[in-house]
Symmetry: C2
Subunit: 253 residues, 2 copies
Amino acid sequence: MRVISERNIKLTIAYDGTAYHGWQRQTNAISVQEVLEEALSRICKEPITIYGAGRTDSGVHASGQVANFKTTARIPVDRIPYAINSVTPRDLVVHKAEEVDQSFHARYSAKGKVYVYRIYNAEFPSPFWRNFALHYPLHLDVSAMRKACEYLIGTHDFSSFRAAGSEVKTSVRTVKRLEITHKEELITIIAEADGFLYNMVRIIVGALLDVGSGKLQPDDVQKILLAKDRGIASPTAPSHGLTLLKVHYSEVD
Amino acid sequence: MRVISERNIKLTIAYDGTAYHGWQRQTNAISVQEVLEEALSRICKEPITIYGAGRTDSGVHASGQVANFKTTARIPVDRIPYAINSVTPRDLVVHKAEEVDQSFHARYSAKGKVYVYRIYNAEFPSPFWRNFALHYPLHLDVSAMRKACEYLIGTHDFSSFRAAGSEVKTSVRTVKRLEITHKEELITIIAEADGFLYNMVRIIVGALLDVGSGKLQPDDVQKILLAKDRGIASPTAPSHGLTLLKVHYSEVD
């Protein structure tokens, strides 16, 4: 009996999430996972299941999503992006494929993630940013928002910034970076952590918007954090401003 | 008899041109002009004709298109953007309205225009730039492209860079600026002139792409210019990389 060796393939994927109901496969709505699995099953001529690093929500984008799948198909690894991109729509692009160790799992091997949240802060919306940034027409005090960020950086119990329904053992996470840049109309919030709870970035952004608009003081964000109660935090910011930038698999990359 | 005074209103408009068959009204295809005229006719309760500064082609975008129209409607000028934006799709946004002198005409009063052409230079396309930048997967020699630009700056007869079918008295134009910046995957060509012939920016970009890819030498662009013959120039670059940035109405703005 011949043993067919199975390869473990890591993909790096970018997508405009506007037309997708998130990463995760579901009935009656198109997902990124489904589009990729159907493309890969056609290419590999066997049923393929892929595992994504971040299960992005409906409307959330990714420029550096990572996923892996196992296959016995013999297609050269460097041809995989071309093969996938030739059958997927233009809003979803695989830009890298690598053969990795059998133990690699896009989600469980991840050591950290980087997200960006964009706010288009101008009186009128931009047709170019309409799907990629939250339009916020009122003045935002960016320096107050930066002060609020300082309370969130570090290792904390982020229960107040976790959406209901998430099932994880611990709500302690280490936020390594929470930085705001402001260039012309665009306010960009970069968030990096060893992991994020469900909707954590969008709830943090909701609180930062409340600080920027003067509804909250910067140190109110610390009070919210210490309360460990989602009920007192700000509303979740809309999904379309959020993009998954990068998934880290070592402490240094 | 009471004389109803007619105001002349200048609009500044941004649009994602992907879904439009250009600026100019035409039968059987949606145009920016038609969408704006229908919105304004509803708002002003009289038939409105608008005049655009640049008649952008199908797929071309604008962040600073200018148009004007005359109306007897009494709507306060600062309410006009809100009124238009409330009835137009999200890919078209009016961000300024001003009352101007009766003699102002968006096209004939223009003293200059600035366009940007974007090239996404990477092996794989970007889902985010797919409608706003030309995907060019091969290496481009940007310094050679910059050398070629030098031959085009200044006052020249641009007959070689004019699409057939354009009816203008003279093909002499003054290119004030032709600059290339390169940041990560994005190559950005800024072109400013007192006016552009039909398809002139896209034909210039076509020549610059031929220089960047090594098909032409930088000084071949001078030969093309001096030949005053569209037949020998490079192909026209695709429309979706082009955006009208700004229209100038004085020599100094």
